[in-house]
């Protein structure tokens, strides 16, 4: 994944310029190591030496995430393809989709394994804090989308229950992104209020009808 080239030129600036042209990337995307500053020599005649630089293409956080996921899943005896389904232009979120067979074990009960893997991948990708923070979202076999639909229907059903019984409905504990789906599903319903109670990871949504 890591690509680097070495360039030699009269001085450092020209060498870097040459390397960037060859790699065809902007300066922000590379790391530069100066191997030799070069020496103009006396009167440009005696002892002049060319400058040598080594230019590496920096790995993006998405690259790091994909590499980590490949290593982990290979070690689990799975071989899968990982595709980038969404990469924000401002690099704030990277959504990755895992494609392969037997992904059930990677999803786990209510997505617990997928969530854990997502959390670990995010830690690994964001280890270098100087590069800012990128939110990593993992999906497998369209699980997230299916879950979103299920939660949406669940929210509507339980809102109805809150209305007819006049009691508050307490949902089971859910991770933040799932609670968010519930809140969003009901925000248009004027007679329904939703809020969350408890501490992570046991925080749960409560639905009440006015």
């Amino acid at each position: 994944m890591e690509t680097s080239i070495r360039e030699t030129a009269k001085n450092v600036d020209i060498a870097i310029e040459k390397a960037l042209t060859k790699l065809a990337v902007p300066k922000e995307k590379v790391e530069i190591k100066i191997i030799d500053e070069g020496n103009k020599g006396i009167f440009g005649l005696i002892g002049n030496r060319d400058a040598i630089v080594e230019v590496f293409i920096k790995k993006t956080k998405a690259d790091i995430a994909i590499e980590f996921l490949h290593e982990v899943t290979n070690s689990m005896g799975l071989s899968l393809k990982i595709e980038i389904i969404e990469e924000d232009s401002d690099d704030e979120q990277v959504a990755l989709n895992l494609i392969g067979e037997n992904l059930g074990i990677l999803i786990g009960h209510r997505g617990s394994t997928l969530d854990s893997l997502q959390y670990l991948t995010s830690l690994v990708a964001n280890k270098d804090v100087t590069d800012g923070y990128v939110r990593i979202v993992l999906d497998a076999e369209g699980y997230r989308d299916r879950r979103r639909k299920t939660l949406f229907q669940l929210a509507k059903r339980l809102a109805e229950k809150a209305r007819t019984t006049g009691r508050k409905v307490v949902l089971e504990p859910m991770p933040p992104h799932e609670r968010r789906i519930i809140h969003l599903a009901l925000q248009e319903e004027k007679d329904i209020k939703t809020y969350s109670e408890g501490n992570e990871p046991y925080r749960k949504v409560i639905i009440v009808a006015n």
């Binding site: 290593e71 982990v72 070690s75 689990m76 037997n102 074990i105 617990s112 394994t113 670990l120 280890k127």
Partner: protein, 75 residues
């Protein structure tokens, strides 16, 4: 299984060369003991053990595939 813990731990810590995993295998249970450099402890445990829990969840999935149970201990 041992390799999996190593991969995850080494990717998380600042001193991957100090990551050591010991594996002992029982009948159906695999016991894994992970040790890391002292200042890397937080990186494999996390706030309220959140990272440790995530590592265990992933390991559990790998173990299920092999019809085994797994214990991950952090020393």
């Amino acid at each position: 299984m041992k390799e999996l813990v190593e991969i995850i731990a080494k990717s998380l810590v600042d001193h991957p060369e100090e990551v050591v995993v010991k594996e002992t295998e029982g009948d159906r249970t695999v016991n894994l003991v992970l040790s890391v450099a002292e200042d890397d402890m937080g990186k494999v445990i996390g706030k309220q053990g959140r990272i440790a829990k995530a590592i265990r969840t992933v390991l559990k999935a790998a173990a299920t595939k092999e019809n085994k149970r797994v214990n991950v201990e952090i020393l």
